[in-house]
């Protein structure tokens, strides 16, 4: 499973799996922006970089996605492709996000306002990493 959209009465969630925490973050980021628009990676016009350090894997996921929400709004971009680099032995991530200007896309969902801690799950399982995140939209 790359990522899957979770139903919620007012808002929306994403659950995803990954071979590593880095790949899980990649899938969750792709899932989050897929709620806003469907964009082919080949359409990317600009790249930006995010660096985040957090005390727990849960916090790292929420903090990284929150930083992407911030950058999306500030830079007027909708991201669609990511390169995630997790520092070995540390909960520190450097993420490059490629996106398309808002003016160039037709939204398929409302913008993400924020990343919530509601029913948040980020855990390592026998077959890899699993994450579930709900968003305020």
């Amino acid at each position: 499973m790359p990522y899957r959209v979770l139903s919620h009465t007012a808002d929306t969630g994403i659950e995803a799996t990954g071979d590593s925490l880095a790949s899980l973050i990649n899938e969750l980021a792709m899932g989050m922006f897929s709620l806003v628009a469907t964009i082919e990676p080949s359409a990317v016009e600009r790249w930006t970089t995010v660096r985040v350090e957090s005390p727990t894997p849960e916090d790292l996921v929420v903090d990284t996605l929150s930083e992407l929400v911030y950058l999306s709004e500030i830079e007027d971009l909708v991201f669609c492709t990511f390169r995630v680099d997790l520092s070995p032995g540390a909960l520190s991530v450097t993420l490059e996000a490629g996106g398309v200007p808002v003016a160039a896309i037709e939204p398929s969902g409302p913008p993400i306002k924020a990343v919530t801690y509601h029913r948040l799950v980020v855990e390592e399982r026998e077959d890899g990493w699993y994450g579930r995140v709900y968003f305020d939209v």
Partner: protein, 500 residues
Amino acid sequence: MVWPSVFRCLTIGPSATLVPVVKVGTMEYRRISDVVWELAPYGAMTVPGRIFASETLMELVRLEHAAEQVANVAQLRGIRRASFAMPDIHWGYGFPIGGVAATDVDAGGVISPGGVGFDICCGVRLLASRFTEADFNENREAVMGNLDQSIPRGLGKGAIAPGSLVPEVLTRGAEAVLDAGYGWEADLERCEEHGTSAGADAKAISDHAIARGGGQLGSLGAGNHFLEIQVVDEVHDPFAAEAFGLAEGMLVVMLHCGSRGLGHQTCTDQLRVMGPAMSRHGLTVPDRQLACVPVRSPEGDEYLKAMAAAANFAWANRHVLAHSARQAFAKAFGISLEETGMRLVYDVAHNLAKIETHDIDGRPTELCVHRKGATRAFGPGHPDLPEDLRSTGQPVLVPGSMGTSSWVLRGVVDNPAFFSAAHGAGRVMSRKQAKQREPGRVVRDKLEAEGISVRPGSIGLLAEEAPYAYKDVDQVADVCARGHLAAKVARLRPVGVVKG
């Protein structure tokens, strides 16, 4: 998770058939009066959960997780009386939408950013006018066209007021934009808190938040935010309607929006701080989105300062948008702003926490009242109301879904939920479900066929906000009245919508 479906009916008395209990999962909500359902405390709950709902609305509650969230909120330290839910209750994150919780400040009671929400001070503003529906019909295209062009909304940047105003807005709210030429002096008298939340500290707002707000002062946003043109269709309380400045047949303008990215970022920033702070205060919660700290703590103090500053952005945001709406009407009719008669009826928040004094066990007690998707509803005689509204009670604005009615209610003296009432219709269908039912253009065509002009930010997203995605707002207003949350004043019918 799918909750087991159990809904028992018993016959009470010779003719009345009343449902005495509704089971939601393993929880039993017992009917304790006409429209009040109570969950007795269990586990870590220290007060009961109480939902205001009709039987029909309770059936909808049963289908999702909101009732469970009512129980979670009842576990917050220092909570008093009950964890309340208004009739528009639905599944939120942490708190249910429609949740009201008051904590005892002097007894270690907590404040939770999740009890306010990301969209701090999201609220509703209603403008009266000198126009009728016939006037609107004569100039419909011009009005809708002007609003379409002048109201920034949807995905991406766009604002009416310059970002340079933001620092002053954070401390002075609507007053700051009034000084910059937006709105009328008399507006402030009809804003909750006069459009300025006390105790705001701009230093509690991060650079990230200011950067997000800088390009959004005077913008609707997206999702369920809107500007709607409505007609006063039914007057239920002529005395209150007159005091509010409303009359049958009058064209009015309602707008719904909040603190935009500045508020969302502020909540994000504060939640990041509160997680680690909870263990220092010996607090645990069943859902991390309920993260909280004692009101009387450095972190609690910091949150109150930040929340007030973000609230000031929201008051100012609605002020600027309302001014732009007046300009759109004035231009369409070729008259001055003053000649539009677009006076402010009221501006009320539905995502805030406030320090208020309420009676607990016969003693006046200082409480932190969280209203998450719930409207403050002070009754007649309350000292915080403007002089001309003291005899009627506070206007309570309850927007319906796009295409259905909205309601103006008024506060009543015997409100049992810390003077709180509903804030809208309340969603019943997920966005995905709504989109699967009909595409946006079909939703638009149907609304237009009903005489409602639609100017969407995005035609695709219109589908998510279709009328059937929400509960019946008439039932919500009815439960408010039957549950003594607020009394009916007037019903408003939409004739035009500018959608975020």
